[in-house]
Symmetry: C2
Subunit: 662 residues, 2 copies
């Protein structure tokens, strides 16, 4: 006899209780409350094949309420994914187990995205649903036709990014996005009434979503709601009324079940209440067999899809696109043109020129901006907007939603088949920072086009002028921060960002810059992270290390020093991270490890000097800005902060003189 | 004859056009569209006295759409504030003018908050409205009885923080908060329809707000709407239907008026259309006199209020509270107790103990947490919740709204009379970062209680373990980041944060730590930023520089080295910023400027090593974590990353040995 849906669900409950108990750490409440809803979803709706977690046309499942990670670990195990094993689950939250505290996409196939930072799972799902519709527009229903399902909790719905994600999804009419809201009326601090009196459903309706309610503890009721959600053309919020920790007779319905082990007594009582008599970590044969059947449910669909793919004649193209390796044929002709006619222009404009070369060739890019299209120069001429009426478009007007944009881009990148890039001002990376961190943690190829990258943006003043941002972003592991000095470096950095398997930030100027790379070299010099742009003429006494718009200043300051017989190298450093990864020999050639008395190292960057000691050493000179900016025209602002060739040369001369006097 | 409301409003339009034209930079569209609404608000409703911008019971006005800064500069000038002068306005957006690109509270009295980063003005206004109701509960209607008015644009309403702020305001029933929404249907990229199809009014209704609509270009219509808003007990959204750039006949209603000068021809056409024949920067006598009357409108109310204050017998107490100088009598007895009975406890718990001493004495504190009360240890026993039914409470359940909490705290601090502190996990400073930056820029005394400050939080894993956060926060100018090592340092840091005029972050552990400060010293050592906690026994060859939970590890590693005859200082560095501000002599005593060959400097912090070169020098040793974390029990995670006394001592020994071999 097939086990009942409730019995299948109880396997999730039992594993969640047992794993959290063994770890003495974790969150049993959510998996226990949503076990029935998840069972309905997985056994009847979710299109997947446990034997091939990467089937491109699978439905995507996102556990936005990532603290309830045991829900997805249980589901993956029960449905027969190769991992996690039951031993992995026994080692929940221990070194070496892929069953981490929160679900991480790099630990387990089947975990589509890394969740835990609240609100972002749902926002990434919006990006997945965008990618799906776009690829559907490109390849048609026969190859791309899947849904994105999300389980979200009250935390996901209270976070600000929820507003941005929901607004974007409603606007783009992403009808294949279905969010199951675990409405258990409990947060960590207690009742949701402590902090919220909002009519959540009405808010979703106001954002052009379909909504439907159900008893989240009754899989039949959940199924009826999912039927309605699937039938509606709008994105759907399925309100699942549940009880947190359902099944634990003395603790259910309270915050006590949210984030702590239930304890042996309560687990025993729960087993009794649920009629579950298997031992810890054991799943009765009928239940396991029922779940394994669910894991195979998609096999015929999958086979059918493979047949359609073969018949489509697009097999190779389709997989090539999914592989994500971008065509680089645009680069050399573009560089040749820049060398032939060295332009004086802002690097944001240079980025646009690069994109004009890239977008016709790398057709998987999807551009966008958080309402700064004309300032970020992110829209190339031929790109049509991606809208509810034209999912085939490749440019998204994200609105004033930096965080929502970044999270959606993560979802798009992780969905696969598209390379998202999006713009805002560099200072507003702060708004998107939680998603930028997740780009890095997830190794999602998202390209952030961050313009107006210094006081050089001018009059908008301190609130808009980045100071600490470059260094703060460089401090994030697994993220490449590029700050090119001219159009050639900008093109090189774009090539690196496209070829990367991880996220990149391009920090670009508002103001015009002269070309500093005017000779063909047959090598992507930016790939070295830093390189000697101009060697000293006279005996080398100084090395300038500069980035972006300050390379021009360093070059001019070096010229002044040379005119006084002081030899000065100028090193352009478009990417610290790549330079740090170079072999010692290369790094020591560029920045010799000698005392600053012998050769003075001088950093020049229009931002905080914090952290530049890494390249100048303690006794080098760091020229930058260690306070907030100033509202003034760009040139005046540079003058104000002593970031001019005269002022820089004077500071170096003064420093050399002081040193001699010591 | 009194000028009409429209004629008064046209003075704002003209000044906005002229100033932006002179600067050839700025945003005329918003001031021109909202001039009539602002005129209605200032001439008929806003309670203020231009002669005393700091009158404590004034209404607060927040220009959340800060790019329209000329609106407020024009209003301050016209109503007779001492600054800006007309020359200040002529120098709009130039070095030296207080009329910066975006309104900055430190430039001009009358500018209550710094706005420009969208959404945050409105969110800060929520904090101001909270502070007002709280002080009203303390001092009664006779002393505190004012409203908070906001002008917000579509950008403010699309940002995620709007959702958090609106949810909080609705929940707390902040009826004295009134938001005028400049509904001009235009964003930078074009029509709002490019990115939004939300029913904004319905969303506010769903969040328990009152809403009302009006013709924003008709001051009588605006007045009727404001009457309705004032009459309603809920916070109000006043939808002002406007035309961006209203008055510029050829450009109004388009994004072209948003962020660029109109040009001489269009300005001339606008002057004609508006019937405005005064020269640039000139305001006709009747208009100026009308506006100056508005600036004096509040004088009798103000005098009346002063009389009530005198009669209340609370004058000195009231001003003392507003002065913000906290009572420090709690500190010494608390330290004495900690020295007498050195506790082993997490610094988050030590923070709670400090707060138990602080809160009864410093009665202006208002605590809270973004739904992590029990984890952040922010609620002391006697604090009652601040709710819609009890504004006199001093603890706010902010919900899962880190950014909204931080922005609200900025508003509370800038309102004055309260000292806000609030908690979340350190990793989620990313969510609040835009507001943390504004705390620093505005020099708002907000105290961020950020617990779970490293991999020491354990099993929750990489998404929850801060790596880059300490250094990223230290890179923000004007922000003190404290990472105390035990209960004594925690109390010292709390005292410093309370006494500061600027924001502080307290980074606190989840895990228990031993007491490292066990002797009375009669001085707040943390005020030095760093100090020699343990001097070398043997001949000094090594200096450990550690923070927080790693001080314990450094002490134990030093002991191991000493046992091998290698003298090692241990420097505790609870606050880099304060150490950097010490005199050279002090800094050089703690960290002598000698080669690492002579004395090896070793930093130990469970986070990125990026930037630690500042203290170790290039050839020192930096022990930390330069990748994302790991899900495991805290001790295992420390072991995994080599952050144990054995591993640290071994690395130092190995380093010393390698050096000798060179």
């Amino acid at each position: 006899m097939q086990p009942t849906q409730r019995r299948l669900a109880n396997a999730i409950r039992a594993l969640a209780m047992d794993a959290v108990e063994a770890a003495n750490s974790g969150h049993p409440g959510m998996p226990m409350g949503m076990a029935d809803a998840a069972t309905a979803l997985f056994t009847r709706y979710l299109k997947f094949d446990a034997a091939d977690p990467n089937w491109p046309d699978r439905d995507r499942f996102v556990l936005s309420a990532g603290h309830g990670s045991m829900l997805i670990y249980a589901l993956l195990y029960l449905t027969g994914y190769s991992r996690p094993t039951i031993d992995d689950i026994r080692n929940f939250r221990q070194v070496g187990s892929p069953c981490a505290g929160h679900p991480e996409n790099f630990e387990l196939p089947g975990v589509e995205v890394t969740t835990g930072p609240l609100g972002q799972g749902l926002a990434m799902a919006v990006g997945m649903a965008i990618a799906e519709r776009h690829l559907n527009a490109v390849y048609g229903d026969t190859l791309v036709d899947h849904r994105t399902y999300v389980i979200a909790g009250d935390g996901d719905l209270m976070e600000g990014v929820n507003h941005e994600a929901v607004g974007l999804a409603g606007h783009l009419k992403l009808g294949r996005l279905i969010v199951l809201w675990d409405d258990n009326r409990i947060t960590i601090d207690g009742s949701t009434e402590l902090s919220r009196n909002e009519d959540v459903v009405a808010r979703y309706v106001a954002s052009a979503w379909h909504t439907v309610e159900c008893d989240g503890l009754d899989s039949a009721s959940v199924s009826r709601a999912l039927d309605a959600a699937i039938a509606d053309e709008r994105p759907s919020l399925v309100r699942c009324k549940t009880i947190i920790g359902y099944g634990a007779p003395n603790k259910q319905g309270t915050a006590a079940t949210h984030g702590a082990a239930l304890g042996a007594d309560e687990i025993e009582a729960a087993r009794k209440a649920l009629g579950w008599d298997a031992d810890a970590f054991e799943v009765p044969e009928d239940v396991l067999s029922g779940w394994r059947g669910t894991g195979q449910r998609g096999q015929s669909d999958h086979a059918e899809w493979r047949r359609r793919l073969e018949e489509s004649g697009k097999r190779d193209e389709f997989y090539a696109r999914l592989s994500g390796k971008p065509d680089e044929s645009w680069l050399q002709p573009h560089l040749d043109e820049l060398i032939a006619n060295p332009p004086k222009l802002a690097t944001r404009k240079a980025s646009e020129l690069a994109l004009e070369a890239i977008n016709p060739v790398v057709t998987s890019t999807i551009g966008g901006s958080a309402d700064l299209t004309g300032s970020n120069n992110t829209k190339t001429k031929a790109l049509e907007p991606l809208t509810a009426d034209n999912y085939g478009g490749r440019y998204i007007y994200y609105g004033i939603r930096e965080f929502g944009m970044a999270a959606a881009m993560n979802g798009m990148a992780l969905h696969g088949g598209v390379i998202p890039y999006g713009g805002t001002f560099l200072v507003f990376t702060d708004y998107a920072r939680p998603a930028i961190r997740l780009s890095a943690l997830q190794q999602a190829r998202v390209i952030y086009v961050m313009t107006h990258d210094s006081i050089g943006l001018g009059e908008d003043g301190p609130t808009h002028q980045p100071i600490e941002h470059l260094q703060s972003l460089r401090a994030i592991p697994g993220l490449e921060v590029y700050r090119p000095a001219d159009a050639v470096e900008t093109a090189e950095c774009w090539a690196l960002a496209l070829a990367s398997k991880s996220p990149s930030i391009l920090a670009l100027t508002r103001q015009n810059l002269p070309a500093v790379r005017t000779k063909a070299v047959g090598e992507n010099l930016s790939a070295r992270g830093a390189y000697r742009l101009k060697p000293a003429g006279a005996d080398r006494k100084v090395i300038f290390i500069a980035t972006g718009s300050e390379v021009e200043i360093a070059l001019a300051a070096a010229k002044q020093l040379e005119s006084q017989g002081i030899g000065a190298d100028v090193v352009s450093m478009p990417c610290m991270e790549l330079f740090d990864a170079q072999p010692d020999t290369y790094r020591e050639d560029v920045l010799p490890d000698v005392s600053n008395r012998e050769i003075l190292r001088v950093s020049v960057e229009a931002g905080t000097t914090f952290g530049w000691e890494r390249y100048t050493g303690l006794h080098g000179l760091r020229i930058g800005i260690d306070r907030f900016g100033v509202s003034a025209p760009a040139e005046d602002a540079y003058e104000f902060f002593g970031l001019t060739p005269d002022a820089v040369a004077a500071r170096v001369l003064d420093y050399l003189k002081q040193r001699e006097m010591r």
